[in-house]
Amino acid sequence: MSQSMYQEIILDHYKHPHHKGLRDPYDVEVHHVNPTCGDEVTLRVHVADGVVQDVSYDGQGCSISQASTSVMTDLVIGKQVDEALRTSEAFLELMQSRGQLEPDEDVLEDGIAFAGVSRYPARVKCALLGWMAWKDATAQAADPTRRGTS
């Protein structure tokens, strides 16, 4: 089995996810679902001094959604919120590229393993599940009036 889409990186993150499990303290918790396959993630963010202090999560889903959430936590925890958002934009752009974009390893690190996934429109939503949850939670954390609306 060649399993071209399943790079070692993805399999590693899937089998040994980073930062998994829900932790305290947190500012916002969100719950996102991929309606096409029922994949779910519950995700918490803790932001302080403009820095992503922690992201913790729990959920069920396919290797792509689980691995990409794990990669995401590596990429955003400890970063300035602005910078983390730029990283998430870069990942989003990669996923919408239909295999046409050469990812920047300096920015996306392990995230570059998902370049191949972008050729499979049905899987793009899987790869974005955790990222979208994080973005939503972070936006709520920045705007206390929106907290709990998701």
Partner: protein, 429 residues
Amino acid sequence: MTSLLAVTAGGQRSTSFDVEAVRADFPVLSRLIGGRPLVYLDNASSSHKPRQVLDAERAFVEQHYSNVHRGVHTLSQEATDGYEAARDTVARFLGAPDSHGVVFTKNATEAYNLVAYSFGNAAAGSRFALGPGDEVCVTEMEHHSNLVPWQMLCERTGATLRWIPLTDDGRLDLTDLESLVNERTKVLAFVHVSNILGTENPVDVLVARAREVGALTLLDGAQSAPHQPVDVVALGVDFFVLTGHKMLAPSGVGVLWGRRELLDAMPPFLGGGSMIEVVQMSGSTYAPAPERFEAGTPVISQAVALAAACDYLQGIGLDRVLAHEQALTARLISGIHDLDGVTIIGPDSLEDRGAAVSFSIEGVHPHDVGQSLDELGIAVRVGHHCAAPVCRRYGVPATTRASSYLYNTEAEIDALLEGITSVQRFWSA
């Protein structure tokens, strides 16, 4: 068990079903996927189309095409003849008494909505009118297309939606049928053969109960009409729905069959050209069925292609198609029984079931199963199969579904079974 089945149906037919000859009619079946022969087991989602159907459509479009019902010129008459002949063919295919009850739609989904909106549009007091206190009954195994239109109808009218629940082994739980289908029930809409579980439902029991209480019945035949002989009169239903793309025809055509006196009494759904009688700026009157329900330029060449698909299927014989698929299903189910860690979701036996078989592989998400099988050239479907409540009922986020059709072979079933084993190896490594 052999792939050349000698089927004897009522002593009438005994020539064998030649699956290789059938396969030769479907160009896509010789495609390679990543260097491996395509094994197409996603037929419950959509089927491929044989040369004969595509040729019939093209010949019509290239030489006899025009708009229908509207002109006096030769092409317009030829096109109208072709379109109406297609209606006749579909009527015969369904065992309908005449073609006036055959309405062409763009897919099955439009057909359910047509009926649901007609109910919603009915004037108070009409037999179709719905309001608070009235009920619509469906089942928990409906395809979203035969569920959401009724939810929307109930929301608009204040009627109540009820549903027949499922047993643990993937069948309708009829324990409370008498209370679920009762004097307040206006429509009982249910699936003939489930696209996710494979279950074939006891139409006779449900129709008998509906008749007792005076409810109209709508049978979703999207997964039965392609695979087995269907006779709407024998089934005793009021409405029957099929969709062309699952039965060798192109996308873009479906059929609502309805008892003519019902269709003639139902208020229209889509307004526009062809469905009218007299149009004034201040108001219009409507044509009788089936025209009343075919607003605008209809799905002309698609209907012609659907008729060619009916002819193709009847040329082989639906009884032989069914027997062939039953043999494949038997092989698949017994093969799955021999594997560890694979669970069938839906009836585990061959009794009253179609060719769609859903299963879960322990420890591997269906998405990963589907993608891994694709790398072996095997096309199955993964997800909720537009029947999310069924997944919820059985506590799975999604399933993997293999569904065969007349052109599949035992070797392909074996390839799938081997594929499942290598998926398990890959994901447990």
